[in-house]
């Protein structure tokens, strides 16, 4: 059974699901992502509506994004314009987090290069990863 990774974009960073979970197919992986998003949103107020999840395959290549605003049940009670605004904000924030994480990764890699070039012990290591972190907003 194929393995999928469910990386969470929250509070300005990407929280990685390194182990991943086995799902029968992409449809099952999407249902799993929706279930996890629902669990994270439950009782959490409006803050989590701007979170998103990047679902990646075994090679950690991004397959699709799940935007929490799209599955937030409470938004159903709001006017369509408000729902659209939340969805748009969620997508923009996703793009912003991806850019921020890519910038952080560049900074870390630069530190590593400088450490190597100057022969200093390599005290830093890359925590941010490529692949899924570079998923494009709106590819769902």
């Amino acid at each position: 059974m194929p393995r999928f990774h469910f990386h969470l974009r929250a509070a300005g960073t990407i929280l990685h699901d390194d182990d991943g979970s086995e799902c029968a197919d992409v449809g099952t992986a999407r249902a799993h992502a929706v279930a996890v998003a629902s669990q994270l949103m439950r009782n959490a107020g409006g803050r989590t509506r701007l979170w998103s999840m990047c679902v990646a395959d075994e090679e950690d290549e991004a397959l699709f994004n799940l935007f929490f605003a799209d599955v937030a049940a409470r938004l159903d009670n709001h006017p369509p314009a408000m729902q659209e605004l939340a969805a748009k904000t969620c997508r923009r924030l996703t793009e912003l987090i991806d850019v921020m994480c890519a910038a952080r990764r560049t900074v870390v890699e630069s530190h590593m290069l400088i450490a190597r070039a100057t022969g200093k012990p390599q005290l830093v290591f890359a925590r941010e990863r490529g692949g899924a972190a570079q998923a494009l907003a709106g590819s769902a």
Binding site: D19, Q39, N43
Partner: protein, 241 residues
């Protein structure tokens, strides 16, 4: 061979009550040496843990689980009279060492001693407090705060900052998917509160973890502390078997 009474409830009993219980108390063997494995325990017994944790889990027809209550060496758990917990499942966590007694036998013995009855009823009260607090917590608090709460309570019950549990085990206790726990554990690791290995969680910064937890941890600790000898060191006693 005498049992070292590290369970605070048993250790707090007068010798005459221990003598009443001793013939019916048996030690649950620990099949594994530590590790995150769960051992399903007999439902018609009450457990007094000396090491490890015993949890009472509710199971839905779909197989989903959630922890209703748990006990470490500070308490007792099981179908404590008058509670009938036949729908739940009792499981152990970690290197479990607990004294068990059949509930039918416990009921008989409780009739013979007022102090023993009071001690067991206090355990029942504590169980009810947990059930109430967990109902509030599960209904009102996000899993983002429930996970740190669970970790703090597990550490309290184990009296250790190392919890032998996998993310799958913790997910079963919280009634959520393993992925949900993985992502939230990742956040707690990022801020330096914990380190989660393959099958053990190490708490690095208890204050930081507490700041991420909901108020239920402190509330329950205070309320249970008024009923059980939670923070009292266990007197060194032993009893037969």
């Amino acid at each position: 061979m005498p049992i070292r009474l590290e369970n605070h409830i048993l250790a707090g009993l007068p010798p005459s009550d221990l003598a009443l219980l001793a013939p019916s108390l048996h030690v649950v063997p620990s099949p594994q040496n530590g590790g995150p494995q769960q051992h399903e325990l007999e439902r018609d017994h009450v457990y007094f843990p000396h090491e490890g944790i015993v949890s009472l889990l509710a199971i839905t027809p779909d197989g989903d689980t959630i922890e209703m209550a748990s006990a470490g060496r500070d308490g007792a758990i099981g179908p404590i009279p008058p509670f009938d917990l036949q729908d739940g499942v009792l499981v152990g966590l970690g290197a479990l060492r607990a004294s068990q007694i059949a509930v039918a036998r416990l009921q008989l013995v409780m009739g013979e001693s007022e102090t023993l009855r009071a001690a067991i009823e206090a355990c029942g009260d504590a169980l009810l407090l947990q059930l109430r607090q967990n109902l509030v917590c599960g209904g009102l608090h996000p899993v983002e705060h429930r996970l740190p709460r669970w970790l703090l309570e597990a550490a309290d019950r184990l009296q250790s900052d190392v919890i032998p549990a996998t993310q799958e085990t913790v997910a079963q206790r919280l009634g959520v998917r393993r992925t949900t726990v993985t992502l939230l554990a990742s956040k707690l690791q990022e801020i330096g509160a914990i380190r989660w290995g393959r099958s053990r969680i190490e708490i690095f910064d208890r204050a930081l973890l507490a700041s991420e937890a909901c108020t239920c941890h402190a509330a329950l600790r205070d309320r249970m502390g008024a009923r059980l000898p939670v923070d009292r060191p266990a007197p060194q006693k032993s009893v037969g078997r």
